[in-house]
């Protein structure tokens, strides 16, 4: 499903070139549960951004479901992001002015789903993520765990094939972190490809495939 060939991403830091990704070759099959680990600056977040089409590689080829997505226009990439990829961030990234329900509704709005249909799908999602009694609260009135649940609900409402999580438990205490991980794993069991970038060894170890990175290169790829 995800097929990266010789992907390179170079950043210019002053007069120094930093190779955040240095000839990455990676293939991820549908339904896999992958963790990407490595020290800061190893390029793991950049890899996730490239996979999520947020960042364009400087060279190399990226095939997603058989199409070469590096060649797509900005608008087409946006559509692919919307329909095939869900993002979960460490800092949740909810829109503070909108209620939990409205935040969850955003991707449907961008997709142009009919309002009546939208309402039904948001209701169903609120139930599925046990957020019904928080539906009309703003993010500032929610706990960290609830915020991340809203964020995951938003990331998955369009049923993406891949869920990309960047340090999803980084801002949560241990117990709520565990709840969020359980939620993500439940989505994986339901068939979603799950890719998690993390520092947390315990979280990383839960995945079925472990990718280790250093200095922009993959130095380990193991399955359990």
């Amino acid at each position: 499903m995800i097929h990266l060939t010789a992907i390179t991403r170079v950043f210019q830091m002053g007069d120094q070139e930093v190779r955040a990704l240095n000839g990455i070759n990676l293939e991820i099959q549908p339904g896999e549960y992958v963790s990407i680990m490595g020290p800061s600056g190893s390029g793991k977040s950049t890899l996730l951004n490239v996979v999520g089409l947020l960042d364009r590689p400087d060279s190399g080829r990226y095939k997603l479901d058989g199409t070469d997505v590096t060649a797509l226009s900005e608008t087409e990439q946006a559509r692919v992001r919307r329909e095939k990829i869900g993002f979960v961030f460490q800092s949740f990234h909810l829109i503070p002015r909108l209620t939990a329900a409205e935040n969850i509704e955003l991707p449907l709005m961008l997709e142009g789903v009919d309002p009546a249909d939208r309402k039904a799908r948001v209701e169903a999602t609120l139930d599925a993520f046990e957020l019904r009694d928080r539906a009309h609260h703003r993010p500032s009135e929610l706990s960290g765990g609830q915020r991340q649940r809203v964020a995951i609900a938003r990331a998955t409402i369009l049923k993406p094939t891949a869920l990309l999580a960047d340090e999803p438990t980084g801002n949560l205490d241990h117990r709520t972190g565990a709840e969020v991980v359980a939620l993500l794993e439940a989505l994986h069991h339901a068939g979603t490809t799950l890719i998690v970038v993390t520092h947390d060894r315990e979280l990383g170890a839960r995945a079925h495939r472990h990718i280790a990175m250093r200095d922009g290169e993959i130095i380990g790829d193991a399955r359990t």
């Binding site: 947020l54 960042d55 692919v80 919307r82 993002f87 990234h93 829109i95 002015r97 961008l110 142009g112």
Partner: protein, 400 residues
Amino acid sequence: MNLRDTLTLSFTTVVSYRTRSVLIVLAMALGVAAVVVLTALGDGARNYVVGQFSSLGTNLIIVLPGRSETSGGFVSAALGQTPRDLTLEDARFVGHLPQVRRLAPLNVGVAELTSGGKLREVTVLGSTAELLPIRHMKLSQGSFLAHGSGRSAQIVLGSELAHEFFPDGKVIGQRIRLGDSRFMVSGVLASQGESMGFNSDEIAIIPIDYAQELFNTSTLFRILVEARSRNAIESAKSAIQHTLKLRHDGEDDVTVITQDAVLATFDRILRALTLGVSGIAAISLAVAGILVMNVMLVAVAQRTSEIGLLKAIGAPAADIRHLFFAEALWLSLAGGAIGFGLGHLGAWLIRLAYPDLPAWPPAWASIAGVATALITGILASLLPAARAARLDPVLALSGK
């Protein structure tokens, strides 16, 4: 994202940044209100002047002796010819022209008015019965000068004079002395106050032949002519010039002024003034536009991570651009609407304070004011919206 969702979402944003939105709407509203109020003032002043002129008479043509332009020259100067005077006979000929509805010859002078031991100098108009309708004068009591040529020593007094000489109110039929002759008061003018620097409350009007006798002259000061219609004014003017030229041995020695020409000049001046003033007001709208741009640029900076998020969940650049457009549109729409209301309220207050001034904002000004607000608002959002749409999602998400 469809239009309705874009508008709803941006409206939520406008409402949630309350202070910012109120301030920017206020700036916009003041600009629009300034345009509306100032054009109301300008247009009111124009209508006031036009009204004052019209109160002098409708379709009025004024004939004066002498030329107001340089012409002819050597021959007439060498022969020592002076311009011929206007006479009652001239007026009679003009009165036969088909384009002329009526006319009133006019003499003006100053004489002493005495009665019952009281004495004062007054401005005396000598004219005929037609003066009343031509000049749109009104009587408060009695009747005006009699029609026809029968000599009768009548006098019509201004309201102020009537009050001064006959404080008990019994005016009609009273005898009064003007110069060396005795007159009988036939009517009193309704008080009209000052109009174009001429106070009709302190004048006395007597028949033209008495006036010519009183001032010992056979010439006229003016002939006031009323044309049959507005369209007849120009042809009446040339017919009068032609007639008088024939009567004056081919000399073009009268000046014919139409009220229309004077009016048109004032109209043009005041219109230009209104435009100028509203142009200045429109500058404040441009300033409000720059304010909108500044606020939107700040908004893009403030909401960087939000824009990054929208991109991450699949919003194309166009959607993000539209969101910022719509936000500016709401702000300027609110500013325009409130400014429109404020402006009309201001104009109403002016009319309340100065009932004489018809300070109605013209429709074009209201529309132009609101439209300028909308257009500047939208133009001002172009740059910030484009900047937001161009943001790199990775940097935006990390808040850089």
